[in-house]
């Protein structure tokens, strides 16, 4: 049986099934109202019933997240490259960036609204602001942790700094980069959703807010499920790309 050959693959599904079942039984057994905690079956019904609006809003959330995420890849890689390859830039920029990163991004949304108005702008920017930091840090780490012996080997050959960065530094930081993408994409969804809750007429964040204010809890939970599924799907996509591009960094897990 496939499951017995590779139990790890099915473990999350099994755990999910057990949790959902437990949740359903608890709601029914304890007679918990839908207004407090909707049972999985009620959430399922809401998903089907409001499939149209959910899909519409999910698409909006998805593409704004992706645009913000693309921005954070570009900016994160460039900043990481600068910080990781120059000690001076590192010393100058790192404390400021850390301070910036510790600002709660939800607090920035009202400012973004003033600048860009209600709509996709604040959502994209919030997704970007919240997710570029881990990408930048990981690229910088990959570049900065180069073995000194290897650098000596190359410098003796007359390698310029750029040679060392392109031939060794960048390939070497790729595993760090992909690891950071997986963290960053889930953060980007958080950013978009938070922004949509106060600065948008569309998107899953707005759907959550509306459903909550109308006490339609099954719909609110359906929105949460959709966000979770989208983030997980993107996470898996980046894991897959990671496994197929930087296999050399994961050799321990591979059958030889």
């Amino acid at each position: 049986m496939a499951a017995s050959r590779n139990p790890e693959r099915f473990a999350p599904l099994l755990l999910l099934a057990i949790l959902v079942l437990f949740w359903e039984l608890a709601c029914r057994g304890l007679d918990i109202s839908d207004f407090i905690l909707p049972a999985p079956s009620a959430i399922g019904i809401a998903l089907v019933e409001y499939a149209g609006p959910i899909l519409f809003n999910a698409w909006r959330t998805f593409w704004t997240t992706m645009v913000g995420f693309a921005l954070s890849i570009v900016v994160g890689v460039l900043l990481g490259f600068v910080i990781g390859s120059s000690r001076f830039a590192y010393a100058a920029m790192y404390p400021l960036l850390t301070a910036f990163n510790s600002v709660p991004k939800a607090a920035v949304v009202p400012i973004l609204v003033v600048w860009f108005g209600i709509g996709a702008g604040p959502a994209i920017l919030t997704a970007f602001l919240i997710s570029f930091f881990p990408i930048m840090v990981n690229i910088a780490t990959g570049l900065a942790t180069l073995e000194p012996e290897l650098e000596d080997v190359l410098r003796v050959l007359g390698a310029r700094r750029l040679d060392v960065l392109l031939k060794v530094g960048l390939p070497r930081s790729m595993p760090y980069f992909f690891a950071s993408l997986k963290v960053a994409i889930t953060l980007a969804f958080v950013g978009t959703t938070v922004s949509e809750m106060s600065a948008s007429n569309e998107g899953i964040g707005q759907l959550l807010l509306t459903a909550g204010s109308q006490s339609r809890m099954p719909l609110a939970f359906a929105g949460l499920v959709v966000i979770g599924v989208m983030a997980m799907a993107m996470y898996e996509l980046f894991s897959w790309i990671e496994r197929h591009t930087t296999a050399w960094a994961h050799r321990g897990q591979q059958p030889s």
């Binding site: 073995e147 012996e149 290897l150 000596d152 080997v153 190359l154 410098r155 003796v156 050959l157 007359g158 390698a159 040679d163 031939k167 060794v168 390939p171 070497r172 790729m174 930087t246 050399w248 960094a249 050799r251 030889s256």
Partner: protein, 265 residues
């Protein structure tokens, strides 16, 4: 002598200006010279400045005092006529063995400019070099698919692919088991016999130094000074059998005694 290849004249090195003011030198008053094609070994206790010596000989560090000349020229910056290998093979895990060995040709001139046009010729050259160290059939494997000894062979090939006039080895066999180490001694012996580049071998292993080198230098604890210069007059070609003969063990004993007296001192 003017025809010396490696020529250190009263060389002192401090790693920073403060260290220099505080008279805290990593190496002191190193004077030595080697004949072209000579194989020298430098032995000494840990932290005696052997690696500093390497940095001076490659131009990665400039002498604080004194002068370093290589091939008759004063050293003013990194020397491209040098190949280096270390205790850690430092191969790039995303490149195959062949492409790891080709790396220097992508960087050092004049090969760099010709790399695109002569890619095939260069790959052929790398394959031949890999074959001479017994790595034929492993060209397309990744470093992590090779044993430690094989990785070190590949690392030595990488150090030699651009046909440097000088090979610098910093404890290259230190992390290998005894059998593999002795195998690689012979690999190095054969490469050197065929190409006669200059070698500076930094090592802890006296048997290794005596077996391979023409001249062995013993360095003191930090600050490193050269205490003993010992020519090894064992006949060449040498075979592992020689390491069990009386003259060989006598030289090793003698050097061991000197190092023992440094450690007590």
């Amino acid at each position: 002598m003017s025809d010396a290849f490696v020529d250190f004249r009263g060389v002192w090195l401090a790693y920073s200006e403060e260290a220099a003011r505080a008279e805290d030198y990593a190496v002191e008053d190193i004077t030595l010279s080697t004949q072209p094609g000579e194989f020298i070994a430098i032995v000494g206790p840990s932290g005696c400045g052997k690696s500093t010596f390497m940095k001076l000989a490659t131009g990665l560090k400039r002498a604080t005092r004194g002068e370093v000349r290589i091939a008759g020229e004063p050293v003013t910056g990194p020397l491209k006529i040098v190949g280096m290998a270390f205790q850690a093979p430092t191969l790039l895990p995303w490149r195959t063995t062949l492409h790891n060995v080709l790396l220097p040709l992508e960087i050092v001139q004049p090969y760099r400019a010709q790399f695109k046009q002569r890619r095939e010729a260069f790959a052929e050259r790398a394959r031949r070099l890999l074959a001479t160290v017994g790595l034929q059939g492993y060209e397309d494997k990744f470093p992590w698919q090779l044993s430690g000894g094989m990785q070190q062979r590949a690392s030595i090939c990488r150090a030699l692919i651009h046909e440097p006039r000088m090979l610098l080895l910093d404890e290259p066999f230190g992390a290998l088991d005894a059998f593999t180490r002795e195998e690689l001694w012979n690999v190095l012996r054969d490469l050197w016999s065929a190409q006669r580049f200059n070698v500076i071998l930094v090592t802890h292993d006296l048997r290794e130094a005596v077996y391979l080198a023409d001249t062995v230098y013993v360095m003191s604890k930090r600050p490193g000074r050269i205490l003993v210069r010992r020519e090894i007059d064992l006949p060449r070609p040498r075979d592992l059998e020689i390491t069990y003969t009386e003259p060989f063990t006598q030289i090793v004993h003698e050097l061991r005694a000197r190092i023992g007296s440094i450690r007590r001192g």
